[in-house]
């Protein structure tokens, strides 16, 4: 009869040997990017705002007053955080660190994460001295909190910087290219409508666009909020096109994240020849190129249900709002249908939608909770690269 301790030792030993063997012999397959970028949504449209403590003297020197002050950002993966971090590093002599619980050092600019929708309250209560947000929250804070001023719009720091993008789950794209084509076509039609409408601020369409923006961002269309929404629309550049210049800027985002050390492994360490190759793999312009040739479906035809994620109150993502609006669809001759419905698409929000920031949208992508997402290009890149590691 074998001693039971001997049996246990033998089984444990066998398991260890088998495990080590498996670890030594296992080969993992190269992962594909979880998402594909289909279209731009907007560029620019964010700003650094500061309290009256900072906004003293010549505006060109306000950054001298940043030391020991706390700035709110939407989160470390956002384009806003990246621009602020990069601006502090390149244009000032201050360090940049998270707000500590104790005393603040005058040689450091501090950040704390605050959802843009809550930044107004943080500024009002004096919890932060400034911040960086997407529109319409910069315009709202300037309008509603006494003494707050815009220090710089982000296009003054990085002209035509990439901002929100339309992304699709890569597996979904491979299985449903027709649906993706229709979604992109609807997005392009909606963006074109915005680009045309924004040219004439006296038109009925413009007033309507201001109304829906105000309701989306603030929950109502009071005169004060409409004025803020109108102001905001003027600070955002809406565009769907993807050109080489835009792709080059994505490479700058990748290089910046590499420099900041935010990638677990950067694209080159993951086996890509360069940032350029990674961007080419990540971006697919075929759908944009074929958008104008995509036909609307007949009324009464069945709709394909897709799950979409977007950011809370982000006026950058107005195209999604426009494409989901029945009145705008009717005005464009689609009958009692939204633009998405005219292209055979029915929108369903993902669980947790709308999301607080791009990181949360990427979580939804990684959990296969959404098929399409509107989010900032930087969180899309950061999370995609880190998911490949």
């Amino acid at each position: 009869m074998v001693n039971k301790n001997v049996l246990i030792v033998a089984v444990v030993g066998l398991l260890i040997v088998a495990s080590v063997g498996f670890i030594l012999l296992a080969e993992t397959e190269e992962r594909e990017p979880k998402i594909t970028l289909l279209s731009q949504v907007n560029s620019e449209g964010s700003a650094i705002f500061v309290s009256s403590d900072i906004a003293t003297g010549d505006k060109a020197n306000w950054s001298d007053n940043f030391g020991g002050k706390v700035f709110a950002t939407p989160g470390t993966a956002s384009i806003q955080h990246m621009i602020l971090a990069d601006y502090i590093a390149s244009e000032t002599d201050f360090g940049f660190a998270i707000q500590p619980a104790g005393a603040l050092d005058d040689n450091v600019v501090y950040w704390t994460q605050v959802p843009p929708i809550d930044m107004k309250e943080s500024m009002s209560k004096g919890l932060v001295d400034g911040g960086i947000a997407w529109e319409p929250f910069n315009s709202q804070i300037v309008a509603d909190v006494p003494g707050v001023e815009i220090y710089k719009w982000t296009d003054e720091i990085w002209d035509a910087h990439p901002c929100c993008v339309l992304a699709v789950n890569s597996e979904f794209e491979q299985k449903n290219p027709e649906t993706v084509q229709k979604f992109v076509a609807a997005h392009v039609v909606a963006t074109k409508w915005i680009m045309e409408t924004i040219q004439d601020d006296t038109s009925d369409n413009y007033s309507y666009m201001v109304n829906i923006s105000s309701i989306f961002a603030f929950g109502d269309k009071s005169e004060a909020n409409k004025a803020i929404a109108k102001d905001s629309l003027g600070h955002v550049t809406y565009d769907y096109n993807i050109n080489q210049s835009w792709k080059d800027k994505l490479e700058v985002v990748i290089d910046t994240y590499t420099r900041l050390g935010l990638f677990d492994r950067n694209p080159e360490q993951l086996g890509y020849e360069s940032s350029t190759e990674f961007v080419e793999r990540l971006v697919n312009t075929d759908y944009i190129d074929n958008a104008s040739a995509t036909d609307v479906v007949d009324e009464g035809d069945g709709l394909v249900k897709v799950k979409v994620g977007w950011l809370s109150g982000d006026i950058h993502q107005l195209a999604r709002l426009v494409a989901m609006d029945k009145n705008i669809g009717e005005g464009m001759g689609f009958g009692d249908r939204t633009i998405f419905e005219a292209f055979g698409i029915e929108i369903e929000g993902g669980a947790g939608n709308p999301y607080a920031n791009g990181g949360a949208v990427m979580d939804a992508f990684l959990a296969d909770e959404i098929d399409f997402g509107y989010l900032g290009a930087p969180p899309a890149i950061l999370r995609t690269v880190n998911a490949l590691s």
């Binding site: 500590p100 619980a101 104790g102 450091v108 900041l260 969180p379 590691s389």
Partner: protein, 277 residues
């Protein structure tokens, strides 16, 4: 035929009375168990090949990178995150200790006090500490808020154990003290308090474990100045750096083991000094 016990003679023979044998046996089993855990994790990570389950080797690399360059996202070092969590944890723990122990002694000593306090405690006890977090953080701020979540986590087990300890005191001991001339106050601090200490320490051990869970979770809601919970959430949700997330998880585990280990040691020392082994 040779029997296994005869192989190697007495060298392989385990003697349960021998302290060194007991130590070696315990050490080998513990190390083997941990090796098995790491191997199971490693095999699982390779077999599943999913983003959010890195291999131990990648986590090891991430740990050394964090030691060398710190947390590049927050500008803090790993030690800063650990100290931030420890400070909040210690604050919450000491407040809980200062409130729960005297209250538990009074409740155990006075039936009226127990009857009065019990309804309040029973209403509050089932509320999970984390359910208080949003309220505390909003009402008390990002420093005191997470501390109060720890307070709730530690308070109830400590209180229950203290009350239980007082009730477990042999009534003959109290009678004997009184017969020997001790007044109420003397009976309280010369008989009841010392007899309750082992139970209080048991409450401390349980409370420390729950407190750790609370602080990490509370920091995930909001925390000023970093913290291990914040570090984990930020790396998971914002950056997607999963090896860093696992470094955070391992730190939480180690800190939990160290704090409860210290409590266990103190518990044993007290029991030994009081001759209660």
């Amino acid at each position: 035929m040779l029997k296994f016990d005869e192989v190697g003679g007495s060298l392989l023979k385990y003697d349960p009375e021998n302290r060194l044998h007991r130590f070696v046996r315990s050490f080998v089993i513990t190390v083997t168990s941990l090796i098995m855990l790491v191997l199971a994790w490693w095999v699982g990570a390779l077999a599943l090949d999913i983003t959010y389950l890195p291999t131990p080797a990648r986590v090891y690399e991430a740990f050394w990178r964090l030691i060398e360059v710190g947390d590049v996202v927050t500008g803090l070092t790993l030690q800063d995150h650990i100290m931030a969590s420890l400070n909040r944890f210690a604050g919450g723990f000491f407040i809980a200790f200062a409130v729960a122990v005297p209250l538990g002694l009074i409740m155990g000593y006075s039936r009226t006090a127990e009857e009065f306090s019990n309804p309040i405690i029973e209403v509050l006890r089932p509320i999970a500490p984390m359910a208080w977090a949003p309220l505390f953080i909003l009402a008390l701020g990002v420093v005191a808020g997470p501390m109060m979540v720890v307070f709730i986590g530690v308070f109830f087990p400590l209180l229950s154990n203290t009350v239980f300890g007082v009730k477990k005191i042999d009534p003959h001991m109290i009678d004997a003290a009184r017969t020997l001339g001790a007044n109420g106050l003397q009976t309280f601090y010369k008989v009841m308090l010392p007899c309750t200490i082992p139970y209080i320490m048991n409450g401390v051990k349980i409370g420390l474990g729950i407190g750790w869970m609370c602080i990490v979770a509370a920091e995930m809601i909001m925390a000023k100045g970093g913290g291990v919970g914040y570090f984990i959430l930020n790396n998971a949700q914002q950056i997607g750096n999963w090896p860093n997330v696992f470094v955070g998880l391992i730190i939480v585990s180690f800190l939990g083991i160290i704090t409860t280990g210290i409590a266990e040691r103190v518990h044993k020392m007290i029991i030994s000094r009081m001759g209660m082994e």
